[in-house]
């Protein structure tokens, strides 16, 4: 069985919003894995370079918004010689398909990976109907 998979570089996709921002800086889409368990929706986003304090997660009108601000002050006094990727803030939003308990949103940031656990509302959980 092939256990090795060659890694390919994923080109960063740029955020395309209906509204433009007033500032010209570019914003990128974090790559994401989304999966659903019986209790919750799990959203895993890659936002390398973003610190814990600079992450903003919110659910509004059934839309999950994730924003990550890059601290680019570290790039001051650095002269680029050779570059293969661009850097910038991250932003992505998802319309949620199931009802989410807004009070139970868990977020954890580790090594540039943001893991969100969005607990489903009781009414949205699957139910097994007993046949009498």
């Amino acid at each position: 069985m092939a256990s090795k998979q060659e890694l390919q570089v994923q080109q960063k996709r740029e955020l395309e919003k209906k509204e433009e921002t007033t500032i010209p800086a570019r914003i990128f889409l974090p790559t994401v894995d989304i999966y659903e368990t019986e209790e919750a929706l799990r959203v895993i986003l890659e936002i390398p370079g973003v610190e814990k304090n600079n992450v903003d997660v919110r659910v509004e009108d059934g839309v999950l918004y994730v924003d990550g601000r890059l601290d680019f002050s570290k790039y001051q006094n650095l002269q680029p010689l050779y570059t293969e990727y661009n850097v910038g803030h991250y932003s992505r939003s998802f319309r949620l398909s199931s009802k989410i308990d807004q009070s139970k949103i868990g977020a954890e940031l580790r090594d540039g990976v943001l893991s969100l656990t969005l607990a489903k509302l009781e009414e949205a959980k699957p139910r097994t109907i007993q046949v009498k």
Partner: protein
């Protein structure tokens, strides 16, 4: 009147433009040898020394090896993306697998002075130039 820009956003835009301008510059042309171009690398000059910044989110430090020899740096490891069993998958965009990439720099390095730091999914390699490679001021008599 002086035009005021909404700094620091303007500073970010300038950084992005500077990075864009160097995209596929020939500074490392034919000098990166690899099995696939993962992970992507940005190389900066910091004073006399070199700083390589590599985006590698979600790596276990124990799964990452860095080797230095003369003017080459080898970065190899494994990126794992765990998915629990019995879940229904909506989207899968994150990549996983093994990587092995060697950077050959056009300057001599001081292998003992190399420092690596992994924070927030970003690997920073501080690559000091060898003393013998540094430019010297010539006094005119």
């Amino acid at each position: 009147m002086v035009t005021a820009f909404a700094d620091p956003f303007d500073a970010l835009f300038n950084l992005q433009r500077a990075l864009e301008a160097r995209l596929a510059s020939d500074w490392l042309q034919d000098l990166t040898t690899s099995r696939g171009p993962f992970p992507p690398i940005n190389v900066f000059q910091q004073g006399e020394d070199i700083l390589a910044i590599i985006e590698l989110p979600g790596i276990d430090k124990n799964d990452l090896q860095i080797q230095a020899k003369e003017n080459t740096i080898r970065i190899s490891g494994r990126k794992a993306v765990d998915l629990p069993e019995g879940v229904s998958v909506h989207r899968r965009e994150r990549v996983w697998g093994e990587f092995d990439r060697t950077l050959s720099l056009p300057v001599q390095l001081d292998p003992d002075g190399i420092k690596a730091e992994y924070r927030d999914g970003v690997l920073a390699l501080f690559l000091p130039r060898a003393e013998s490679d540094k430019p010297r001021m010539i006094a005119i008599k």
